[in-house]
């Protein structure tokens, strides 16, 4: 589903990603961890072309992301959920979800509404469809954001620390939605420090350190006996 070959990304002189190689299979849930500033967000942003890559290759569902690829074509196949939700504040929850299917996928209003209602129901917010984002709690906003991304029927979902801006009591409701999604077979790349989620839902754990994949493997395996000393040091800090 996703093939990343020797991905490099620099901001001016600062090289953030220094040759990332990774293959992600269909329906796989990959959890990405790493210290702050190690390049996790940059990596995710490269996967849906929010950042141009400096060199290397990314192929998603057979489409190469290198420069002349149709950016919008790829982005609609790749859903993204942000740490800070980024809901559109001037639209209701339902409008947030139904806008893109209509203007990007050219769905009819009726179709979009059907998809929207179904997804709002799925994330457990059927009773909040007409609320504006500022009237929703953080956890609810993030669930709307997930529904919004899913409304485009993406093949892959990217999550960039989806729970780290939330109060602790709201983390569970968002993780539950993500868990359901994984169970239904969505291909997911999740940057998170929720180790319980990584252990339980993750098929693979990837530790990014200083712009490269320093270690990867079965989450439980990596947690229990990390091979790389950098992984050991990192895990001992967060566990």
């Amino acid at each position: 589903m996703i093939k990343v070959k020797n991905l490099h990304k620099s901001f001016g002189r600062l090289e953030v990603l220094k040759g990332i190689n990774i293959h992600i299979k269909e329906q796989e849930v990959v959890v990405v961890i790493g210290a702050s500033g190690s390049g996790k967000s940059t990596f995710l942003r490269c996967l849906n072309k929010l950042e141009d890559i400096t060199s290397g290759e990314i192929i998603i569902d057979g489409i190469s992301l290198n420069s002349d690829a149709n950016v919008n074509l790829i982005r609609r196949e790749v859903g993204m959920v942000f740490q800070r939700f980024n809901l559109f504040p001037h639209m209701t929850a339902l409008e947030n979800v139904t806008l893109a299917p209509q203007i990007v996928r050219k769905a009819s209003k009726k179709e979009a509404l059907e998809i929207g209602l179904e997804l709002m129901n799925k994330v457990g917010l059927a009773d909040k469809i007409n609320e504006y984002p500022r009237r929703l709690s953080g956890g609810q906003q993030q669930r709307v954001a997930i529904a919004r991304a899913l409304a485009m029927k993406p093949k892959v979902m990217l999550f960039d620390e989806p729970t780290s801006a939330l109060d602790p009591e709201m983390v569970g409701e968002v993780l539950a939605v993500m868990r359901d999604l994984a169970r239904e077979g969505m291909t997911m790349v999740v940057v998170t420090h929720e180790m319980g989620f990584a252990r339980e839902v993750g098929d693979r754990l990837v530790f990014i350190d200083d712009g490269v994949v320093a270690e990867e493997g079965d989450p439980v395996e990596v947690f229990n006996n990390p091979k790389n000393p950098r992984t050991q040091a990192f895990l001992s800090k967060i566990l």
């Binding site: 849906n48 929010l50 919008n72 074509l73 982005r75 609609r76 790749v78 859903g79 993204m80 942000f82 800070r84 980024n86 809901l87 559109f88 504040p89 001037h90 806008l99 893109a100 203007i103 990007v104 996928r105 504006y132 500022r134 954001a145 919004r148 991304a149 485009m152």
Partner: protein
């Protein structure tokens, strides 16, 4: 000479006719200027260098030079440069053009700062859903920026209303020019210009009440 305070009231009909012209020029120029200004704002933020620097140059020129000079450039300079004789009433065309172009430069900066005040995460979210740059602007950024720009646009409206008095210099019969003519006839500058000033004051105050009201309405809706 005795000051005849009653002259202000006596000449009110003529002055109000001038005020109508003032309002007409202001409304049209702010309307056209805002539309043009939005394009200059977008152009200025564009990544295409020629477009960007053209817009930067335009905005800097019209903000950095006196409006009266701009009026004269368009009223006298342009016909002279292209060697055409000014048609009758050319001063009106020149007046509309000069005020609109000037207003566009100011509103461009208002739109730009309004657009840039929107969290970049909004653009990213829109783009990550597959929206084009245009769709993201149209559906996500501009509706939010619009609320932010209402108060400064209102202020620009008020500034334009006052600055339009420079049109009197090219014999457009606006409020100030009407006053000038009456003064020439009556030699009573104080009552007349004071009345003129009060009419301007009345108009700007009415406008700022309107702006405050709109601002409150917009504030409520979100």
């Amino acid at each position: 000479m005795v000051i005849d305070w009653g002259l202000g009231i006596e000449n009110l009909p003529i002055l109000l006719r001038g005020a109508k012209i003032t309002i007409q020029f202001t409304v049209v120029s702010v309307f056209l200027g805002s539309i043009l200004g939005l394009f200059f704002a977008l152009g200025r933020m564009s990544r295409i260098p020629i477009l960007k620097y053209f817009c930067v140059g335009y905005i800097d020129f019209f903000r950095g030079t006196p409006l009266l000079v701009q009026i004269l450039l368009i009223y006298v300079g342009v016909p002279h440069l292209f060697g055409f004789t000014m048609p009758d009433n050319y001063q009106y065309i020149a007046g509309y053009i000069a005020l609109s172009l000037n207003c566009a430069a100011y509103t461009a900066e208002i739109f730009r700062s309004g657009i840039q005040s929107i969290d970049p995460g909004q653009m990213e979210a829109a783009r990550s859903l597959g929206m084009t740059q245009y769709q993201a602007m149209r559906y996500i950024i501009l509706p939010q920026a619009f609320k932010v720009v209402v108060p400064p646009l209102g202020n620009e409206f008020i500034a334009m209303l006052k600055d339009s008095s420079l049109l009197a210099f090219i014999a457009i019969e606006d409020l100030l020019y009407s006053g000038k003519i009456i003064v020439g006839r009556t030699f009573q500058p104080m009552p007349i210009y004071l009345t003129v000033a009060l009419i301007y004051l009345f108009m700007t105050m009415a406008l700022s009440l309107l702006v405050n009201y709109t601002e409150r309405r917009l504030g409520k809706s979100d």
